[in-house]
Amino acid sequence: MQGRTTVHAWLMLSPALLLLVAFTHYPAIATIWHSLFSTPRGSRPARFVGAENYLALAEDPIFWQALMNNLVYALTTIPLSIGLALMMALWVNGKIHGRTALRIAFFTPTVLPMIAVANLWLFFYTPDYGLLDQILRTLFGWGPTNWIGRTETALGAMIVVAVWKEAGFFMIFYLAALQAIPPNLCEAAAIEGASRARIFWRITLPLLGPTTLFVLVNAVINGFRLVDHIIVMTKGGPDNATALLLTYVYELGFRFWDTATASALTVVLLVMLALTAAVQFLVGEKRVHYR
C-alpha cells in the first residue's frame, strides 16, 4: 500500500518536476558551465576559457557600477516599499474616511503593466512640461530638471517608480494579516492603558513577523528582478547611471550577443540571490515565530 501511494505521488509530481528541472535547475547549472566557455562566433565554436569571463567582468567598470547601483536600488526599494506597505495597511484597516477608495488607489499600480507604468512616469518626469516639474515650479519656483537624463537623479527616479509599483502589492499581505489579529488583543491592551504606539510595537508588529518575512523575501527578489521600467525608460543610461545586474545581463546577452560574459554575470546575480536567501533563512529562523 505504501509503495502504491509513493508511485502515485511520483506520478503526480513528475510533470511539474520535469518543467521545473528544465527551466530552473538545469539553466541555473548550465549558466555556471557556460560561463567557463567563450562565446561561439560564426564558425568558431565555444572553447573552454576557465575564469576568463569572470576576469573580464572584474575589469569592466560598467559591471562594478551595475553592481553598486543594484545594491543601492535594492537597499532603498526594500525598506521604503515595506514601510509604506505597512503604513498603508494600517490606514485602510483602521477607521478612515473613504477606506475602499484609498485601498483601490494604493493597489492600482500593482495591476498596471510595468511598461504602461514606465510610459506614465516618463510623462511625469519630462523636463519642463512634465507634471513633476510643473508642480515644483508652482510650489517652489524651480526650473526644469531632466530627472531621468541626469546621472545624479536617474537612479533615484527609477527607485521611486519601483516603490510606487510595489508598495500596494505588499499592502495586501499586511492587510490580510492585520485582519487575522483578534481585535480583543488590542482592546485588552487599550483597557490596560497602553498607547496606540505601544500597542503597535508590542502587539501588532510582532504578530506581523511571518508576513514581514514573506514580504521581505519578495522585496529582495524584486530588488534584483524588477527592471522592466529601466529597460524602457533609460536603457540603463545615462552613462550607465541606472544599469542594474539584470539590465546588464540583457544588454550583454541580447544586444551584444556576448552570451559568455552574460552567463558569468548571471552567475554573479545567482550568487547574490543565494546569499540573501541564506541570510534570510538564518535570521528568519531565529526571529520569526510561526504558529
Partner: protein, 270 residues
C-alpha cells in the same frame, strides 16, 4: 485634543499618499481624452475626444497583441492549475522518502525565477525550436513553485476525515482530489489565479527576448515597440495606448476588488 489634531494629520497624509498613487494614472487619462495640445496644459473646459484611442489602435496591431496576450495568459493559467494541483496534493498528503528535500528543490524557484535565467532559457528554446512562439513565453512559468507552495498549504489544512469518508464511499485518489480538495481550495485558486493572470499580462523582459514578430508579441512588448518607435513625444496617443492595454486588467480588478483582497486573506498567505 492632541489626538484629534494627530488624527486629522494622519487622514491628510493618507489621502495625500493615495492621491500621489493614482496621479500618474489620472494624468494619463487626462492626456488620452483631450486633443494633443492639452497634454501639458490644464484647462477645465478642454474639449473631450476619443480620437487618440482610434489613432493608437490604427497605429499598431493591437488586436493581434490582445489575442496573443489572451492566449498566453489562458494557457499559462490552465497549465499552472493542473500541474500545481497535482504536485501540491502529492506534497500535502504523501509522505515518501525524500519528499522534504524535493519540496526544498521546488521552492528554489521562488528565489531563482525564470526572469533571471534569460540567457540559458533562450538557448534551450532555440534548441527546442521554440523561439518566437507563444508556448515559449509561457513554458518556463508553467510549473510554479509559488502555486505549489500555496496549494500545498491549503490542502494541508483540509481535515483528513473528509478524505477518509470519501475513500470509504469508494472514491479513488483522483476523485478525492477533484471532489474534496479542489472545491475546498477555491479561495486559494482565485487568489493565485488573479496573481498569475496579472503577472503574465504584465510580464515583459522574457517575452521581449523570446519574441520578435507581431504574431507572437504580447501587449506589453507590443506597447514598448509602439512607444519607442517614432511616436516620439505624442503623449496623447501613447497615453491612449497605455490605457488601452491596461484597461482589461484594471477594470477586472475594480470589479473583483473585494473578492481579490478577501481571497488573499482566506488563502492564508500571512
Amino acid at each position: 485634543m492632541i489626538g484629534r489634531v494627530g488624527n486629522a494629520f494622519e487622514h491628510a497624509a493618507a489621502w495625500l499618499l493615495g492621491l500621489l498613487w493614482v496621479a500618474p494614472l489620472l494624468y494619463a487619462i487626462w492626456a488620452a481624452v483631450h486633443p494633443q495640445g492639452y497634454s501639458v496644459r490644464f484647462d477645465l473646459f478642454a474639449p473631450l475626444t476619443l480620437e487618440n484611442f482610434a489613432a493608437a489602435w490604427d497605429a499598431a496591431p493591437f488586436a493581434r497583441y490582445f489575442l496573443n496576450t489572451f492566449v498566453l495568459v489562458t494557457m499559462v493559467l490552465v497549465a499552472q492549475f493542473v500541474l500545481c494541483t497535482l504536485a501540491a496534493f502529492a506534497f500535502a498528503r504523501s509522505e515518501f522518502r525524500g519528499s522534504g528535500l524535493l519540496f526544498g528543490l521546488v521552492l528554489l524557484q521562488l528565489m531563482i525565477m525564470p526572469d533571471v535565467l534569460l540567457v540559458e532559457n533562450y538557448r534551450s528554446m532555440r534548441a527546442l525550436g521554440l523561439v518566437d512562439t507563444i508556448l515559449a513565453i509561457g513554458l518556463p512559468y508553467m510549473a510554479s513553485a509559488f502555486g505549489i507552495f500555496l496549494l500545498r498549504q491549503t490542502f494541508k489544512q483540509i481535515p483528513r476525515e473528509l478524505e477518509e469518508a470519501a475513500r470509504v464511499e469508494g472514491c479513488g485518489t483522483m476523485a478525492i482530489l477533484l471532489r474534496v480538495y479542489v472545491p475546498l481550495a477555491k479561495p486559494t485558486y482565485l487568489a493565485y489565479g488573479l496573481t498569475s493572470v496579472s503577472y503574465h499580462w504584465n510580464n515583459f523582459l522574457w517575452p521581449l527576448v523570446i519574441t520578435n514578430t507581431v504574431e507572437t508579441r504580447p501587449l506589453t512588448v507590443g506597447l514598448s515597440v509602439f512607444a519607442s518607435t517614432d511616436q516620439g513625444i505624442d503623449w496623447a496617443i501613447i497615453s491612449a495606448a497605455t490605457l488601452m492595454t491596461s484597461a482589461p486588467l484594471l477594470l477586472g480588478f475594480l470589479m473583483f476588488q473585494r473578492q481579490f483582497v478577501q481571497s488573499f486573506m482566506r488563502a492564508g498567505i500571512r
